[in-house]
Symmetry: C2
Subunit: 122 residues, 2 copies
DNA sequence: TTTGACTGTTTACATCTGTAATCAATGAAA
DNA sequence: TTTCATTGATTACAGATGTAAACAGTCAAA
């Protein structure tokens, strides 16, 4: 039962998942390359994430260092599961079928997935 | 650029995608089997959906008949695309790989997907 | 030691969501 | 014709979210 991470919070997490620990300013520097947010906004998001225990803080003199407490993998598993459950009745096949029919899968994608599945069976 | 449909609204849409047009009461009767909502709540959701032009209304005497204006398929394509873009860099492979690694795919699932992909190549 | 730059904390505020209650119009029943 | 039930419209209200501004503590420079 991982705490829910909002869209905005997710952008912050992606930065921390790439490298951590980081200070608020360092996180903001990264985030700003994607989103047009102020330093204050990023700090608010970090606070909320810390309040939810999704990131941990470690005092470093006058400032904090932030690190993810939730692994990206675990998070992705949770949201993927939720997504597939809600929209495709919990089955991955209809999702893949849907993307395929909507022409969202290239021939390369298909080859890659087939390769992956072959691996899985071994 | 389809209007965003919230979770609660989505439950209402599923009913209308199954059969339409329906009156508010008919929709509520269906929805209540899933969610423990009052008739009022369902009506509010229908109004919001109508305001967003996601469902259309057609007067029928004293009441309205509601029908989806957005197709389920188009909606699913949109949210799937968005989901895959946001969390898996737009590639489906990592999503499937992820679900597979998280043991969310059974042997049957794998067989089904392989079958599907085989079809697609023909 | 005063001042300024940084950093976290507190407060703000509009919008969206979930979940209705209340109101008003009206057709049906008594 | 008065009354009740049905139905859409309006209003409500708390919590989540996006997006900060204002405040307060403190180390560093002057």
């Amino acid at each position: 039962m991982t705490e829910r991470i909002s869209d905005a919070e997710h952008a912050v997490m992606e930065v921390l998942w790439k490298r951590a620990p980081l200070t608020a300013t360092e996180v903001a520097d990264q985030v700003v390359q994607q989103k047009d947010w102020s330093l204050q906004t990023v700090k608010t998001l970090l606070s909320r994430l810390a309040a939810k225990a999704v990131v941990g803080t470690e005092r470093d003199g006058r400032r904090f260092l932030y690190s993810p407490l939730v692994e990206r993998d675990a998070y992705l598993t949770g949201v993927s599961r939720n997504f597939v459950d809600r929209l495709f009745g919990g089955k991955v096949m209809p999702l893949v079928a849907h993307l395929a029919e909507a022409d969202e899968l290239s021939a390369d994608d298909i080859r890659e997935i087939e390769e992956l599945l072959r691996e899985l069976k071994r």
